[in-house]
C-alpha cells in the first residue's frame, strides 16, 4: 500500500446517542475517486469534518501522506494539501467570482499584501483557467450572490482547486442540482480532477453518479464501513442493495 494518501484508523465519534463513527478504518488511494455512500445520518459528512479538522474524533487517528493530522485546525490541514468543497456552496457572496478565486490564490501563497491590488496577483490567468476548466468562466466578473445554485457549486469546487490540493473532499457535489445537469457537472468535475491530478473523496446519494464516476465505493452504515470495493462489486452486494440502496 505504498500509494495511500489519506488513512483513517479506528475513528470513533458519537453525538449524544448517535454513533456516527464506530471504529472506522478507511484508506484513500492516490489518484482515485472514492465515493462514500450510506443512509442519511450514517456519518458520511462527519468523516469529511474529521478529515478536515472541523471535528475532533473521540478515538482513532488520521494520517495524510504519513503525517498525523488528527485534530489539527482546518487551515493547517488545508495548507498540507486537503481542500474541501461543501454541500451548500460556501462562497464570499458580496465579491465577484474572480475575487473569490483570487482570495483563495492569495491564501495559498500566504503573507497576503495590504497594498498591492488583489486583481494584480500574478495568479489571475491561472484562476481564469480553473474557472474555464469547471465551466464558469463567463461568470468571473459577476457577484457570487447572483449565480444560480448549480453554478455556485462549481465555483465552490473551483475555489478548492485554486488551493492546488492533493486531495479534494466533496460533500454531495450534485445535490441541489437539477437531475438533467448532474451528469454534465460530474463530467466537468471528474475530467477537471484528472487534469489537475487531484485525488477525490465524494459523499453521494445518487447511485447512477457513483456507478459512473467512482473508482471505489465505501458503504457507511450505522457508524461502520459495511463494504469497500469497485462500484460493480458493491452495488451487486445483496445486503448493500437492501439496506443502503433500498431495492
Amino acid at each position: 500500500m505504498a500509494n495511500v494518501l489519506l488513512s483513517a484508523k479506528g475513528i470513533k465519534i458519537r453525538f449524544g446517542g448517535v454513533v456516527a463513527a464506530d471504529g472506522i478504518d478507511l484508506d484513500v488511494l492516490q489518484g482515485e475517486n472514492l465515493a462514500i455512500i450510506g443512509p442519511n445520518g450514517a456519518g458520511k459528512t462527519t468523516f469529511l469534518n474529521i478529515s478536515t479538522g472541523y471535528l475532533r474524533p473521540q478515538a482513532g487517528s488520521i494520517t495524510f501522506l504519513g503525517q498525523e493530522i488528527t485534530a489539527q485546525l482546518p487551515r493547517t490541514i488545508t495548507k498540507l494539501g486537503i481542500a474541501r468543497a461543501f454541500q451548500i456552496p460556501q462562497l464570499f457572496l458580496d465579491q465577484t467570482v474572480m475575487e473569490n478565486m483570487l482570495i483563495a490564490a492569495a491564501s495559498r501563497l500566504g503573507s497576503p499584501s495590504g497594498f498591492r491590488a488583489l486583481s494584480a496577483l500574478p495568479e489571475l490567468p491561472e484562476m481564469e483557467r480553473l474557472l474555464d476548466l469547471v465551466g464558469v468562466k463567463l461568470y468571473a466578473s459577476r457577484k457570487a450572490r447572483e449565480l444560480p445554485e448549480g453554478q455556485r457549486k462549481l465555483v465552490d469546487i473551483a475555489l478548492a482547486l485554486a488551493l492546488k490540493p492533493r486531495l479534494l473532499l466533496m460533500d454531495e457535489p450534485t445535490s441541489g442540482v437539477a437531475s438533467a445537469e448532474k451528469l454534465e457537472i460530474m463530467d466537468i468535475l471528474t475530467s477537471a480532477l484528472a487534469k489537475e491530478n487531484v485525488t477525490s473523496v465524494f459523499v453521494e446519494h445518487d447511485m447512477d453518479m457513483v456507478e459512473r464516476y467512482a473508482h471505489r465505493v465505501a458503504v457507511w452504515n450505522v457508524g461502520k464501513i459495511q463494504k469497500v470495493g469497485t462500484p460493480a462489486e458493491v452495488l451487486a452486494d445483496p445486503k448493500v442493495r437492501e439496506q443502503v440502496i433500498g431495492i
Binding site: 487551515r75 495548507k79 458580496d94 482570495i103 491564501s107 499584501s113 495590504g114 497594498f115 491590488a117 496577483l121
Partner: protein, 318 residues
Amino acid sequence: MSGRIKPVTTIAIIFFLVSAVAPLLVSSWATLFALILAKGIVVLGIILLLQAGQVSFGHAMFFATGAYTAAFWGKYVGGGDIVLFIALGGITSAVFGLIVGLFVVRYREIFFGMLNLAFSMVLWSLLEKMFHYTNGADGIRVPRPALLGLSFTPETFQYVILYVSLLIAVVAFYGVQRYLDSPLGHMLRAIKSNETRLEYLGTSARRVLLIGYVISAFLGGIGGTLVAIIQQIATPEFGFWTKSGEFVFIAILGGSAHAFGAFAGAAMFECVRFYAAAHLVDTWQLILGVVLIVIILYAPNGLIGLRQRYGQAKQGGH
C-alpha cells in the same frame, strides 16, 4: 468596479482641494477643516473594521491614547514637535491596539462591540481617576508644539496644523483605499460574508482581523493626537463611550463602501455641529439625530451610497 469607484475618488480630490483652499478665505474654517480631517482619519479605522462586519464601540480608547501621548509628553518632558507627537501617538496606539486586539478579535458582532466598549471604559476610568498623573476630568493642556523645530504664532499655527492634517488625511485615505482593494482587504470583507470558508482556504480569520484592528488603532491614535494638538487639550472625554459612538455615527453617516465615506461623514457631522451650535444653542444633537434617521431611512449606505445610487440610476437610463 472601477467605474463605480472613480466618481467617488473625484469627489474626494475635490474635497481635499476645498479643505486646502477654503480656510484661506475664511480663517475660522481652518480649525473646522482640521477637525474634520483629523476625525476622518479616525473614522477610516472604523470603516476598515466595518468591512469585516465588526463595529467597535470603544475606538475612542485609541483616540484618547494618541491625545494623551502628546499631553504626557508636554507635561513630563516638555516642548515637543508635531512630527514627534504624531509618530508617538500612532505607535503607542498601535501597540495598545495589538494588545487589546489579541483579545477582541476572538469575538464577533455584539460581543466584539461590547468588549471594545469595556476596554475603552477601563481606560476612561483610569484617565478620570488617576488624578495625580492625569489631572482627572480637567484633562491636560497640550502646549502648542513646533513643526520640525519651527515655532509659530497662534494665527499661523492653525494653518500649519490644518495642512499637516490634510497631508496625513490624504496619505491615510489613499493607503486605506489601497488596503480595501488588496488581498488583505478582500479577506477582511470575506470575514463578513463567510469566515468558515476563509479558514478552509488556509487563512486565519483572526489574524486578518487583528492586522485590520491594529491599523485601525494606529489611525485612531493619529487622529486623537491631531485633535489634541488642534484643541490644545486632552481630557478623559476623548476616551468616553459617547466619543466612540460619535465615530461609528460618522462612519454610518458617510458610508463604509469607500474610504471617502469617513471624510464625507466627518464633514457633515462637524459642519452641522459648527453651525447648529452657533445658531441654535443646545439643539445640535437633535439636528444630528434627525440627520441620522433620514440617512438610515433613505440612504442606508451613507452619503457615499447616495452617489452610487444616483450613478446607477443614470446608468439604467433614468
